[in-house]
């Protein structure tokens, strides 16, 4: 039997050196008695370590990481458990991934208890300020960790409180930061740090005020903030009275029903009423643009970001009508800013239509979609939605008075003609609407984006451009007549 007496409570390097020597000498785990510093001596007295030269294999990095955590656990068996696991690991490297192994389960639990304790230290350390005569502020905290977590956690405080001078004192060790470097010293007592702090009363005021008595959940609080930490948390003394008074506070909240509103509120209401009266009928494109934002003619408004109205000069020659805003148009509040809009712009420019005299809009003003994870999938608007939105399209046509309208895709054609028909039947020749406007029908540019093969895409692109060329010629023809 070999007895190992460690110098430190939680020094991974020390444990690793000894473990290496034991492995080199081929000492099996059940032949080693590991003792913490100060622990009552081993069964056989302290025995010098044996020497050996057996090869010591490499271990997976995951084990090192686990051991560095677990060694901070307060359980005295941690050293022996780590050595036994190491011994077994060298015979079976898959062991580190065998999450169901009992030794690994224990070590993993130790490591997570240590991580939790370290996390709680980050959360529950409470600094108290000491201001000396020169105005220099220094901060000190007393903390009682459950495990040996100060050394691993102090660098966090150094990164966080760079511009402060601080100390954290625990029963087994203390840490100091002077603004430049981190140092460790022996453990101490609660009386080593100041008992009072000028801001503490504000903190208690906050703690008491942010609590909602209508939502009492004491068990939840205790599981996240175990009572063992309470004795060093200044706000903890408020918990019992807050719980006691909660039901009364809640009843009081409920009983204090509405009273006469303050005069400030009544003055505000008068102002608001005056503002409402100023909105009147829709007598211009501008009015329509403002009014469409409040449109609730069909249910689509409820999930779209905003209504997307048409854009372009008020006296445009030609109006392009698409189906509905897509994802990007919905976010931006402008029509044809996405990929399909780029296809349209490029084609318009290529055939020689003056883009600055084009008005673009959609048959439906709100984006219809189905949420799928982090994306919104476009859905085609139904007949009722198209019909409801015709109101706005008619206003746009009425105010802009285009000579030529181009329906992009079946939905737009349906809206403008009041009936469904295929694009192939409608494209290639203009129709004359009741008011004399020429209506052309072609594909929606997003159709071109969805064609997978290059050949088909080029063919459809050419047909699309040919349709636009007819539009161009029609505009020129109309202009030369006048």
């Amino acid at each position: 039997m070999h007895t190992v007496r460690l110098q430190a409570l939680n020094d991974f390097a020390e444990w690793r050196n000894i473990a290496r020597q034991l492995l080199a000498a081929g000492v099996p785990p059940d032949q080693v008695d590991w003792l913490e510093p100060g622990a009552a001596g081993g069964l056989f007295g302290d025995v010098a370590l044996v020497q050996g030269d057996r090869p010591v294999g490499a271990v997976p990095p995951a084990f090192i990481e686990l051991a560095q955590q677990a060694i901070n656990h307060s359980e005295p068996e941690r050293f022996g458990l780590l050595y036994r696991f190491l011994w077994r690991l060298l015979g079976d490297r898959g062991l580190i991934e065998t999450a169901s192994d009992s030794d690994l389960v224990r070590l993993t639990r130790m490591a997570s208890a240590v991580r939790r304790d370290s996390h709680k230290m980050k959360a529950f350390v409470r600094f108290k300020a000491i201001v000396d005569d020169s105005g220099l502020e220094r901060y000190a905290a007393w903390f009682e960790p459950e495990h040996y977590t100060l050394e691993a956690t102090a660098p966090f405080f150094a990164r966080r409180f760079d511009g402060m001078i601080w100390a954290i004192v625990t029963p087994y060790r203390s840490a100091y930061w002077d603004g430049e470097s981190l140092a460790f010293g022996p453990g101490g007592y609660k009386s080593d740090v100041p008992q009072d702090d000028a801001v503490e009363a504000d903190w208690k005021t906050y703690f008491g005020s942010i609590f909602n008595p209508a939502r009492l959940k004491v068990a939840m609080m205790k599981s996240e903030m175990p009572m063992k930490y309470w004795r060093n948390l200044p706000e903890a003394e408020l918990i019992a009275p807050l719980i006691r008074g909660a039901r009364e506070m809640e009843a009081e909240m409920i009983e204090r029903v509405a009273t006469q509103p303050p005069s400030r509120h009544l003055r505000q209401q008068v102002r608001d009423a005056e503002a409402v009266e100023q909105t009147s009928e829709i007598s211009s494109l501008r009015d329509a643009r403002a009014a469409v934002l409040g449109c609730q003619r069909c249910p689509l408004y409820e999930h779209a970001t905003q209504a997307v109205f048409g854009e372009g000069p008020e006296q445009a020659d030609v109006m392009f009508v698409g189906e509905q805003p897509g994802d990007q148009e919905d976010l931006a509040g402008k029509p044809f800013v996405g990929p399909a809009g780029k296809v349209l712009d490029a084609a318009v420019q290529k055939v020689g239509i003056d883009r600055s005299r084009v008005y673009v809009t959609n048959a439906v003003k709100h984006f219809k979609f189905e949420p799928r994870g982090k994306r919104r999938i476009h859905q085609r608007p139904d007949g009722g939605e198209v019909q409801a939105c015709k109101f706005w399209l008619d206003l746009e046509i009425g105010f802009v008075k285009p000579r030529v309208i181009v329906a992009l895709g079946a939905t737009a054609a349906q809206s403008l003609l009041g009936k469904t028909d295929t694009i192939s039947k409608l494209r290639g020749r203009p129709m004359t609407l009741d008011d004399g406007t020429l209506l052309f029908v072609t594909n929606h540019p997003s159709y071109l984006l969805r064609i997978p093969d290059a050949e088909g895409k080029a063919r459809e692109q050419a047909k699309f451009e040919a349709d636009l060329a007819l539009v161009r010629d029609a505009i020129a023809g109309l202009r030369s007549k006048h």
Binding site: G179, D202, S209, R215, A258, P262, G294
Partner: protein, 411 residues
């Protein structure tokens, strides 16, 4: 009128902020004050520095700049028609309180909201001033969450995102009708437009752009929102459908569900019942299933009845009980997607199961050690030494897996 002390203002303006459910300080960039002479850090995961007896984490100094408000939202204690005591912090007071609390390690940072005073732009500008002062004048590297005032100018939004870790715009109600009824001055489309603007800025600051210069950073912890549950008639299906639309449209990090809470000086149009806390809890569980477990809204809702989730059992178990034909799942062979559907198994347990089964086949005990508890899992899995037999289809299964009500004390 006598001037209020800072402590009295703190009491009023934190009391006024306690109805906002969000508290998280996680998900931001890694940042610290090392070598700057300032204070503060964020390391990705947030820290709860205390817990109130309502079980909620206290991570941030959550206050309003002022509880004066020109709006009259019926569900809100700060509405203009309410007779609550009013107060207003100066920018400097908020900055000082934040620093004083932070230096004592009481908080991770600041969550600043405000009643709307004068105009949306004026109010937003005040919020931005606090954040700018903390960052520029005091080299503060802690967490800052600012509330977006809908309708404030896009330039103010851009500056807010420059200083803040997170921005949030509250959608308030699950349906537009609900919002219009209870908050007549708030326009749902303006709220969503504000979210869309934040999303646009987040996209611009994203890492996958091919731009040569590094984009200016913008709210690295993203945006979130809150909706109030139980103040109107919207059912859970409407709530989750709304949430799904918000997640997909504006890339929200979180949707917070806040059970409607009775407020002092409350309007007669509101329910006076205590908040449906279990309903809120189930919604969070459902939200989790949708974001991390591959469920969609109709699937989650199919576990409940009549548009409401089952209050008695968690939504994954509820779904599994109604879809027993898809079980048992073989833990040694099933793909990750199907393991994610097993009640009682979380994503980390599943990762461990998949790693372990590469080395040897799993028995029921192995699964129990990995999952921590096996009761809920057992009827839905097969392992080398275990098949549930008739257990999966047992009509009493729900009763067996439902926690027994605790015996109530007579006194």
């Amino acid at each position: 009128m006598a001037a209020l002390t800072l402590r009295r203002k703190l009491a009023i303006l934190s009391d006024a902020a306690k109805y906002d459910a969000s508290c998280a300080s996680s998900g931001s960039e890694k940042r610290n004050s090392a070598g700057t002479g300032g204070i503060g850090s964020t390391e990705g995961s947030g820290i709860c520095h205390s817990y109130a007896p309502d079980g909620r984490c206290i991570s941030l100094l959550k206050i309003l700049l002022t509880n004066f408000c020109v709006y009259d939202c019926i569900y809100c204690v700060n509405r203009s028609s309410s007779n609550v005591v009013r107060a207003r912090f100066s920018v400097e007071e908020v900055v000082k309180l934040t620093l004083d609390f932070y230096k004592r390690n009481y908080i991770e940072g600041l969550f600043l909201s405000s009643g709307i005073i004068r105009s949306p732009d004026y109010t937003m500008e005040e919020l931005v001033r606090v954040a700018r002062s903390l960052r520029e004048d005091h080299l503060f590297a802690g967490y800052i969450h600012l509330k977006v005032i809908p309708n404030a100018a896009p330039e103010l939004l851009a500056e807010a995102g420059r200083w803040a870790d997170r921005l949030s715009t509250n959608i308030e109600m699950p349906t537009d009708i609900g919002l219009e009824t209870l908050a007549p001055e708030k326009k749902p489309s303006e709220i969503r437009t504000a979210m869309a603007r934040v999303r646009g800025k987040l996209d611009e600051a994203g890492p996958d752009k091919k731009a040569k210069a590094k984009p200016a950073k913008f709210a690295p912890a993203g945006q979130s929102t809150q909706m109030i549950i139980g103040a109107d008639a919207a059912d859970d299906g409407a709530v989750l459908h709304r949430a799904a639309g918000l997640y997909s449209g504006y890339k929200l990090r979180r949707v917070y569900y806040s059970a409607f809470s009775p407020i002092p000086d409350s309007s007669s149009r509101l329910p006076l019942k205590p908040p449906p806390l279990m309903r809120e809890h189930r919604l969070y569980q459902a939200d989790w299933l949708i974001r991390f477990y591959g469920f969609d809204v109709p699937e989650v809702m199919s576990g409940g009845e009549g548009g409401l989730l089952d209050l008695g059992i968690d939504p994954k178990l509820a779904w599994a009980l109604k879809n027993r034909a898809r079980f048992p799942v073989n833990v040694n062979r099933a793909d990750r997607e199907m393991l994610l559907r097993v009640p009682g198994l979380g994503t980390r347990s599943i990762d461990r199961i998949i790693a372990t089964r590469r080395h040897h086949s799993l028995g029921l005990d192995d699964v129990a050690r990995i999952a921590g508890s096996i009761d809920k899992v057992r009827p839905f899995i097969e392992a080398v030494d275990w098949t549930p037999g008739g257990l999966t289809d047992d009509q009493r299964l729900r009763a067996r897996l439902t926690p027994q009500p605790e015996q109530l004390s007579l006194f």
